[in-house]
């Protein structure tokens, strides 16, 4: 029986929700096609996450633990995934498309001589090939892609699938992987984390995104207040991360993060295609911009033509009222 193996990513001591979305989808493919749905966790404390992963239907969970996996390093992750592949011989390995995944996917495919397709928005597996859809040309078109190989590696955009609990009792198998300096080769000196305890954009249900129209502290404060009322993550267009107004990790777009929250509020964002490529799959899009012809209005479900300084205060007040 073919095995569909989902790599469950851990970041900052938490399971990435997007990898549970992928696991939920693999479970439904496995049930429909008679495949085995399994998962692997690679983290310094991998075994502490098995209970949460079981809820999503994996029949077997592999854990790889050790200090080498406390921070993302491509050398250690590659070594671990190579070993896991040897032990499990899966037909397919599915990943959430995080920056860590992007860092190893190509190298892993070359190492395993695997078929690979990255950043898909949907996929299926028929026992021999993966058929996937992926946005191309700055998300202006969809490419329908067939991939063969053994195994086949697939990475999936966050928000492509719903979480679907499917409690199972999984067998937990611990695999030993030792990592030495020959595996790492590169030296991770430090991680500069500027985001602190802000909400992870890939996981957020709501995002307030700031663009060029957000010019001063007053506007930034309005953005923060709106985000706080909605319990939303704060994102920014490339213009604002490049000029240093917001941290680069908050950039949304083709170059930065690709997000798909339930609610996306674009404030002072004109809507260049590179930005839209990163947020067009959001469920509900609100745009606030004083330029009535801004392209962002073409993708917005609700467009407010107006000055953000005049629009945001009553907007925030009304949402507060509704929330209470």
């Amino acid at each position: 029986m073919s095995t569909l193996l989902t790599y469950v990513a851990i970041s900052d001591g938490k399971i990435k929700r997007s990898s549970l979305e992928v696991l939920s989808h693999c479970k439904s493919i496995a049930d429909a096609g008679g495949f085995s749905c399994e998962a692997v966790i690679i983290d310094e404390n991998a075994s502490s996450f098995t209970d949460d992963v079981q809820k999503y239907g994996a029949s077997k969970i592999y854990t790889v633990s050790g200090d080498a996996f406390s921070q993302h390093q491509n050398g250690s992750l590659l070594k671990a995934l190579t070993k896991v592949n040897e032990s499990v011989s899966p037909a397919l390995i599915a990943f959430a498309s995080t920056e860590s995944t992007k860092d190893v996917l190509g190298a892993l495919a070359a190492q395993l001589k695997a078929g690979v397709v990255a950043d898909v928005s949907s996929f299926n597996f028929d026992g021999s090939k993966v058929s996937a859809q992926r946005p191309m040309m700055a998300a202006k078109i969809m490419g329908n892609v067939d991939v063969t190989g053994n195994p086949i590696l697939v990475s999936v955009r966050s928000g492509s699938y719903d979480l679907n609990e499917n409690p199972s009792t999984a067998e937990v198998v611990s695999l030993d992987v030792s990592v030495d300096s020959d595996d790492l080769r590169a030296t991770l000196r430090e991680i500069i984390s500027a985001t602190g305890d802000t909400i992870d954009l890939n996981e957020a249900d709501a995002i307030v995104a700031a663009g060029r129209g957000v010019k001063d502290e007053e506007a930034k404060n309005l953005i923060s207040e709106l985000a706080s009322v909605l319990n939303a993550g704060i994102g920014a267009s490339r213009a604002l991360t490049e000029s240093g107004v917001y941290d680069p990790s908050l950039q949304i777009g083709q170059t930065g993060k690709v997000v798909s929250p339930q609610l996306y509020i674009a404030v002072g964002i004109s809507g260049a295609i590179q930005h839209v490529a990163g947020m067009a799959n959001s469920k509900v899009i609100v745009a606030i911009n004083k330029d009535a012809d801004a392209p962002i209005f073409e993708v917005a479900d609700y467009g407010i033509v107006g000055d953000l300084y005049k629009v945001l205060p009553p907007f925030i007040e009304e949402i507060k009222k509704i929330k209470n």
């Binding site: 190298a107 070359a110 969809m142 490419g143 500069i192 680069p248 990790s249 609100v286 907007f315």
Partner: protein, 256 residues
């Protein structure tokens, strides 16, 4: 340090296109240097201008791709390699990586630099594949590069912050377009580029295993992105329309 930057000619994502019977129809003349590769070229130029060294570029593509090589030479690269294809091959990331790895295996360099993805397909696989095939330490998604004691210091945008990574040379790095604004070639650069050497080799003369170049992923067809339902646009008194939209988010969209 010596940099070899891998560059690609890609369709201009701003060019109009049509999808007809699953096929993508675009103006074949609207081709540009991939934006991420342009940033990789720029950063290599900045570092070699500061610390000394050379920048060469390598490009796989049909005859027309020579324009893209000239663009990089006009920016300031010293030499180009053109690995020529017929233009009708259905290569995927893996095919490109096999060709590049074979071509680069006997070349001398300190750093192989790539754009982190190509702006038409956004796969972002080729750089990592080449690193693995050539057994090089590597880092992806660089937003800053420095040289220190013979190491390449990469600032990488990761999931939870910016990772500072030291790579011993030879190494490979893939670049984001966030690290710089690629220079626009000036007239002097453009004139100089015409005298710079470009070595050409045909893929068919490279003694590569044809089966290894076969694409494992194939685009079978293209479809339009499902259109979003037409939205509502509100103009008028700011307080009135802001309140109205907030209420609609609650009662109509049900997202509050």
């Amino acid at each position: 340090m010596k940099f070899i930057v891998s560059i690609k000619m890609v369709p201009d994502v701003y060019a109009p296109f049509q999808i007809k019977d699953g096929e993508l129809l675009m103006d074949g003349d609207r081709m540009v240097l991939n934006a991420y590769d342009a940033s990789a070229v720029e950063e290599a130029l900045v570092l070699t201008e500061k610390y000394g060294g050379d920048v060469e570029v390598v490009c796989i593509g049909a005859a027309k791709a020579s324009e893209t090589i000239r663009k990089a030479l006009a920016m300031g690269a010293a030499k180009g390699y053109h690995i020529q294809t017929n233009g009708d091959e259905a290569y995927d990331s893996s095919s490109y990586a096999q060709i590049l790895a074979d071509f680069l295996k006997d070349k001398e360099y300190d750093v192989l630099s790539f754009g982190k993805q190509s702006q038409d397909t956004d796969s972002g696989l080729t750089g990592g594949m080449v690193a693995q095939l050539l057994n090089l330490p590597y880092a992806t998604n660089a937003v800053g590069l420095e040289i220190e004691d013979g190491n390449l210091i990469v600032k990488r945008q990761g999931d939870s912050g910016q990772e500072m990574i030291a790579l011993p040379t030879p190494c490979l790095v893939t670049c984001s377009n966030d690290m710089n604004e690629p220079r626009i070639p000036n007239l002097k650069g453009i004139m100089a580029s015409k005298r710079k050497p470009v070595e050409s080799v045909a893929v068919s003369d490279m003694n590569l295993d044809g089966a290894a170049l076969e694409a494992v992923s194939k685009v079978t067809s293209y479809s339009p992105v499902p259109a979003r339902a037409a939205g509502q646009k509100f103009e008028g008194e700011p307080e009135e329309i802001a309140t109205k939209v907030a209420q609609l988010l609650d009662t109509e969209a049900n997202v509050l």
